[in-house]
């Protein structure tokens, strides 16, 4: 999940760090976002296949439809929240899952907007382009009374300053988890990750299916800005990962928390903090695992509820989003998925409700201060291609 929420930093990090962080991040993501949006817009204006979304969806008329189709990250909502929404003649939910923003976009673009999905959950950096190309509906805030429950710190992000298209779902960060019975020493950085992958954990490593996250391993380990679009740096990144990481890989796993941690499928896995927690909860021997918020930096991302421009069940979509913004529901969500859902005082409420492994859900100020928000820029096609080459090299 290539995502971002800078303002979290201002909440959690010391005041100075927060100011520095949010200026730095803010300027870069605005510039990057605008540049990418501009080029996409210009390019899509020419060419028959470069079509914007055509929306032929239904109007929101206040009557909740009998179905709702959600396209989201795998295992990303509490099952009891989903079943509660469907109970008592509520809409039937169809939830399909993806492992990267690119995959979600591909589905929408392939269908020229008429994908059939009502709600998608993109990471912040993808929202400007999706919005300006007509894939997302402008939200009617009056249909979301629980919007007021959100902590203002998380609203008005650089990618959607007025929350025209998006409602924060949750935010988190990326790291890795390792089996201490296989890797005896302590790992703390991405450089350690690469080193262990080639030594103790060789042949038992999984990485995410997200191009940004994968290239970030090398870039961060070498002190390079993970958002770089410098061709020389990306070439070096490709050369290193294809030659030195790919041969040691056992799998590409977006959700190690699903079953890989419980089954000890790998000894070393790149994964998101909430997902790691989910995996530890399902494991019979959680103590043998150690999760790392790696230095020097990692992604800080925010995923958002968005309604598609062609949504056929808009009222059900509003009803669902409003439901998950309700305080008790949000706590339930947090207790399951293990990501900060961004409501006011959610940390205290979740802790009171018996949250386990809170240190994974709410990283320390020190950790948050060093994170970098992912940005969509000119390097995007290159990093997508790099991931493809790593896959080929790993399989050869």
């Amino acid at each position: 999940m290539t995502r971002k929420p800078p303002p979290t930093a201002s909440l959690l990090a010391p005041r100075e760090t927060a100011r520095r962080l949010s200026t730095r991040l803010g300027r870069r993501s605005v510039l990057g976002g605008l540049a990418a949006a501009g080029s996409a817009w210009a390019l899509s204006a020419c060419g028959d296949g470069g079509s914007s979304a055509s929306s032929a969806g239904a109007e929101a008329d206040g009557k909740v439809e009998d179905a709702l189709n959600i396209y989201t990250w795998a295992d990303y909502d509490a099952p009891e929240v989903l079943s509660a929404f469907q109970e008592g003649g509520g809409p039937t939910l169809q939830i399909d899952s993806y492992g990267s923003n690119e995959e979600m976009l591909a589905k929408l673009v392939a269908a020229k907007g008429a994908s059939g999905y009502d709600i998608v959950v993109p990471t912040g950096l993808f929202i400007p382009q999706m919005g300006s190309n007509g894939f997302l509906a402008e939200l009617d805030r009056s249909k979301l009374p629980n919007f007021a429950n959100l902590d203002p710190q998380y609203l008005g992000q650089t990618w959607d300053p007025d929350n025209t298209y998006s409602v924060p779902k949750d935010w988190g960060t990326t790291g890795f988890i390792y089996d201490t019975t296989v890797i005896g020493r302590e790992l703390t950085s991405w450089a350690d990750f690469l080193d262990a992958a080639q030594k103790e954990a060789s042949g038992s490593v999984s990485i995410l299916e997200d191009p940004w996250e994968v290239t970030c391993i090398y870039l961060a380990a070498n002190g390079i800005d993970p958002n770089t679009s410098d061709p020389a740096q990306l070439q070096a990144c490709e050369d290193y990962l294809v030659a030195n990481l790919a041969p040691h890989l056992k799998g590409f796993e977006s959700n190690p928390g699903g079953s890989a941690i419980a089954q000890s499928t790998y000894a070393l896995m790149q994964c998101w903090n909430g997902d790691a927690r989910l995996g530890l909860d399902g494991s019979n021997e959680p103590d043998k695992w150690k999760y790392v918020f790696p230095t020097p930096t990692a992604n800080i991302w925010m995923d958002n509820w968005c309604i598609t421009a062609g949504a056929e069940h808009p009222d059900a979509a509003y009803a669902f989003i409003d439901q998950v913004l309700e305080v008790d529901t949000s706590v339930q969500e947090l207790l399951y998925i293990g990501y900060n859902t961004g409501l006011k005082d959610i940390e205290a409420k979740a802790t009171a409700a018996g949250l386990d492994r809170a240190e994974l859900v709410f990283p320390s100020e020190e950790v948050v201060a060093r994170l970098t928000a992912s940005v969509l820029n000119d390097g995007h096609e290159t990093i997508v291609a790099i991931l493809g080459k790593i896959r080929a090299a790993a399989g050869a």
């Binding site: 179905a67 039937t92 169809q94 492992g99 994908s115 419980a262 089954q263 399902g282």
Partner: protein, 299 residues
């Protein structure tokens, strides 16, 4: 398809040493056969056993119970996926049975250049990699739907039925052709001499004779559709996800025992439909070999 097998009535007695060698080789072959059968059934047995797992994850055994069956059948999305699969399979079976049977009759009764070309085309549909069918149909459906303005092709079920029929029409055609080409054309000729209209001839003579082949082909198409994953995952639309695509998607997240439970039920369903075909074919007098040959499309 014809009963040409000249099986021996009695086996000639072989000299004693040869018999011993023969029994050794027979025993070895028998062991090999049993091993292959075990190999074929091992993972299915695993799935059936694990469908009674009461744990959260399919893969880690917690205890025996029926909770997964209850949970699987209770979830609207799973029920919806199975309903979509069955509807698409019935639709694909009907569509390809009609198109394929007619083509099979035509090919069996009429040779020539066009017949050869049609056979070639049908053969190509069978050997085209599924991923190629998948991407080409996706692009084609999207074009028909949004560029040509035919909303019919924006319907997920229509897409699935058509896509699966493309994959199975050839199977039906070849099964029916095999069936009909083994039959004598003189009955139809006699009917024609007796001034039966072409339609009456078709209805009263050709169709009843071809019926077992049509049925076998249709059920074959039904099962092929029920099993199809790659093409379905490309052309499907949300809200109309068929069962195999649901399983594929569930692979990404945690695998729950419900998957195994529902799969076991689907297996029983498929077994019943296969048994029905076999029974009908047996009734109509085919030997076991012919049944197998018909079921696999081998002329």
């Amino acid at each position: 398809m014809t009963a040409l097998d000249d099986r021996p009535g009695t086996r000639r007695a072989a000299p004693a040493p040869a018999r011993r060698r023969r029994s050794t080789s027979s025993a070895l072959l028998g062991i090999w056969g049993a091993l292959v059968l075990v190999f074929l059934f091992l993972p299915i047995a695993v799935i059936v056993v694990y469908s009674f797992n009461t744990g959260r994850l399919l893969t880690s055994w917690q205890g025996f119970g029926f909770s997964s069956y209850a949970a699987g059948l209770d979830r609207p999305v799973i029920r919806g996926a199975i309903a979509t699969s069955v509807k698409a399979a019935v639709g694909a079976a009907l569509l390809s049975a009609v198109i394929g049977s007619l083509a099979g009759l035509a090919l069996a009764r009429r040779g020539g250049r066009w017949a050869g070309l049609l056979t070639l085309l049908l053969g190509l549909t069978l050997v085209t990699p599924e991923i190629v069918d998948a991407i080409s149909l996706l692009g084609w459906f999207v074009s028909l739907d949004s560029d040509a303005g035919l909303p019919l092709f924006g319907n997920g079920l229509v897409r699935l039925v058509i896509a699966h029929s493309v994959l199975s029409t050839a199977v039906v055609t070849f099964i029916v052709r095999a069936r009909v080409s083994g039959m004598d054309a003189s009955l139809e000729e006699a009917a024609a001499d007796l001034y039966a209209t072409p339609w009456a001839r078709f209805r009263d003579i050709t169709l009843p004779l071809a019926a077992p082949g049509v049925l076998a082909g249709g059920l074959m198409a039904f099962t092929l559709s029920l099993d199809n994953t790659i093409v379905a995952s490309f052309v499907q639309l949300p809200g109309g996800t068929p069962w195999p695509v649901y399983v594929l998607s569930a692979l990404r997240a945690a695998l729950r025992p419900e998957i195994a439970a529902v799969s076991t039920l689907m297996l029983v369903l498929t077994l019943v439909s296969l048994a029905v075909v076999a029974l009908v074919l047996r009734r109509s007098g085919d030997s076991a070999t012919d049944v197998a040959r018909t079921l696999t499309g081998g002329g």
